[in-house]
């Protein structure tokens, strides 16, 4: 799985979770860039990412990830 593929699938997940077809996420995208991304939606997002990529993200990663780039790093690491 390439980084580009991960971002493509992440865009799909973000659009589904935030109900917004115009969302395009990048390496530096954070919760500040998406209006509804609060602590509740953060977990919703993590669960949706887990469903999309079929693995569990440990809580240690959930609480420390700073932006979507880090989320992609975690996905690539866990998906090896």
């Amino acid at each position: 799985m390439t980084r580009e593929e991960v971002f493509e699938r992440l865009n799909k997940v973000f659009r589904e979770v935030f109900d917004d077809e115009d969302i395009v996420v990048g390496e530096e995208t954070t919760a500040k860039d998406i209006e509804d991304w609060d602590s509740f939606e953060h977990i919703n997002l993590v669960v949706a990412v887990e469903d999309e990529f079929s693995f569990k993200i440990p809580m240690g990663k959930v609480v420390t990830m700073k932006n979507v780039g880090e989320m992609a790093d975690i996905i690539l690491e866990l998906g090896k």
Partner: protein, 512 residues
């Protein structure tokens, strides 16, 4: 010894001198020594044993994690749970005594022949609620791989007992306090910033909070006489009292740590600028909120039960239901834990339940309100609308604090009743005829509270634009800077309300 006592200031002065004279490698030992001296004078010395037990459990459990053999590795979660349970049980036995004493009273009523002790409180360790939360967070961080376990038990003990934060927090994460173990070189700017912050904390506590406290106490002490607008004044002034008390203490604590070049996490970020209750709780007692979010809210939301509930509600109630119902359940558990941490049923039933209901109602009616605002073409970005939202948030917070300020649950309900009945007897002239002077304060006191409140607003404004008011002050010309600090110092010295032995009264949040 409280953090507003002369003893504490003396300890700080001596501590700073010894700390910067000591070689960098052993500076953390100086901090440990200072913490022990502070504990000896601030609490029952023998209760240090509870801090030692907490440290020992955290040390043993976390150090078992990385070196665990394959056979033990699968039991790592059990090891973490064990460490957390020991600390939680210890906290519950001592700090949560009001819960089990209530249970004992109920049992006594059922079986009158039993002669079990049902009154009183137990001696507990200083700041037990704060350091227990830190230890639990540390164990979980190590379990989650966020922190590396500390191999030196004495260094870990310093994380638990670092003296400025033992009184009222903040609840720091282990990763935030690594500078405890690093050597620091003396810096004039740290000395200035730390002292200035301590002075500002003294001003908030001794000049504003304690004066407002006199007015509020006098009103509630004679609620039969002070009717009409008086109880409303008491309720609406309480946020000012508790904010200047709690955040004033935090300023002293953070300033004291800054003297040693240690940055503790902030607990307040202009809470009264919040435009919603949700935003307010992200700006008030921030470290408790983050603790509850990271170690309670997130795991609950990500649990199988809540994820399944989310899927079920999405199927039956659509996307909105899928958000609202699991969110309300998660928030309910979060608020229950926060109320429980405060250590009494009135905090759970009153304080937590009140804010939880407000938050749920806000979320439930958010779409309706949004449509109404659009229909009425309200400009939501104009100053007056933002001001309205801020006042609304303040009033909602003030009403919730009745449970916090009253001596018990029934007393709080009684106060709500007084608020309601007092509406039948409105007396607007009390604001103009000098009646306030009957409450044990003079015009000078009233003026000092008004000036103090103005300064609070000014500092909040500077914080928004400059990060900290001190940064703005630092940019001013020398005579202005010195004049400002000297005036503040004199105000504290002359108008600070000192208690017995010239020590300030206790802090409201010190009991946790």
């Amino acid at each position: 010894m409280t953090v507003t006592s002369f003893g504490f200031l003396g300890l700080l002065a001596a501590g700073v001198a010894i700390y910067y004279c000591a070689p960098k490698k052993i500076q953390w030992i100086v901090l440990l020594g200072l913490s022990m001296v502070f504990y000896y004078y601030a609490a029952e010395p023998f209760t240090i044993i509870f801090l030692i037990i907490s440290t020992a459990t955290a040390y043993i459990t976390t150090n078992l994690m990385p070196c665990a053999s394959e056979r033990i590795r699968k039991h790592i979660s059990g090891i973490a749970v064990m460490g957390i349970l020991i600390n939680a049980v210890l906290w519950f036995a001592l700090k949560g005594s009001s819960f089990w004493l209530a249970g004992a009273r109920a049992l006594q009523r059922l079986i009158p022949d039993l002669n079990i002790p049902v009154e009183g409180t137990l001696v507990s360790a200083l700041g037990m609620g704060y350091y227990t939360a830190q230890v639990v967070g540390y164990i979980l961080d190590c379990y989650r791989g966020v922190s590396i376990p500390q191999r030196n038990p004495i260094k870990l003990f310093l994380f638990v007992c670092f003296f400025p934060q033992l009184t009222v927090g903040p609840i720091s994460k282990y990763s935030q306090l690594q500078s405890l173990y690093e050597g620091h070189r003396f810096s004039y700017s740290n000395l200035c910033f730390g002292s200035q912050r301590i002075l500002w904390g003294f001003f908030k506590k001794l000049v504003i909070s304690d004066r407002v406290g006199i007015i509020i106490s006098a009103i509630w002490a004679d609620a039969g006489t002070y009717t009409g607008f008086w109880p409303w004044c008491a309720v609406l002034l309480y946020p000012l009292q508790i904010y200047t008390d709690f955040s004033g203490c935090m300023d002293i604590v953070l300033g004291a740590a800054e003297l040693f070049d240690i940055k503790l996490p902030e607990n307040f970020h202009n809470p009264f600028t919040s435009r919603s209750v949700q935003e307010f709780w992200q700006r008030w007692h921030i470290t408790l909120g983050i603790w509850a979010k990271d170690y309670v809210y997130y795991p609950v939301l990500k649990s199988k039960v809540l994820v399944s509930l989310g899927r079920w509600t999405k199927k039956h109630f659509g996307k909105r239901g899928a958000k609202l119902i699991p969110w309300a359940v998660g928030m309910g558990i979060l608020w229950f834990v926060m109320g429980f941490w405060h250590g009494s049923m009135r905090h759970i039933l009153g304080l937590s339940a009140w804010y939880w209901i407000i938050l749920v109602l806000g979320e439930l009616f958010a779409p309706v309100l949004k449509k109404l605002i659009q229909f009425l073409k309200v400009n939501t970005e104009c100053y007056s609308w933002k001001l309205f939202q801020r006042i609304r948030t303040y009033v909602i917070f003030a009403f919730g604090t009745v449970f916090f300020a009253a001596p018990g649950f029934h007393a709080a309900l009684e106060r709500y009743k007084i608020l309601y009945t007092s509406l039948k007897n409105l007396n607007p002239w009390i604001f103009f005829d000098g009646s306030i002077l009957n409450l044990g304060v003079s015009w000078m006191d009233v003026n000092l509270v008004i000036i103090g409140t103005y300064l609070l607003v000014k500092v909040a404004y500077l914080r928004v634009h400059y990060g900290y008011a001190r940064i703005w002050i630092q940019k001013q010309i020398l005579p202005f800077r010195w004049l400002l600090w000297i005036v503040l110092f004199l105000l504290v010295l002359i108008y600070g309300l000192y208690g017995a032995g010239y020590d300030a009264s206790q802090f409201i949040y010190q009991g946790f």
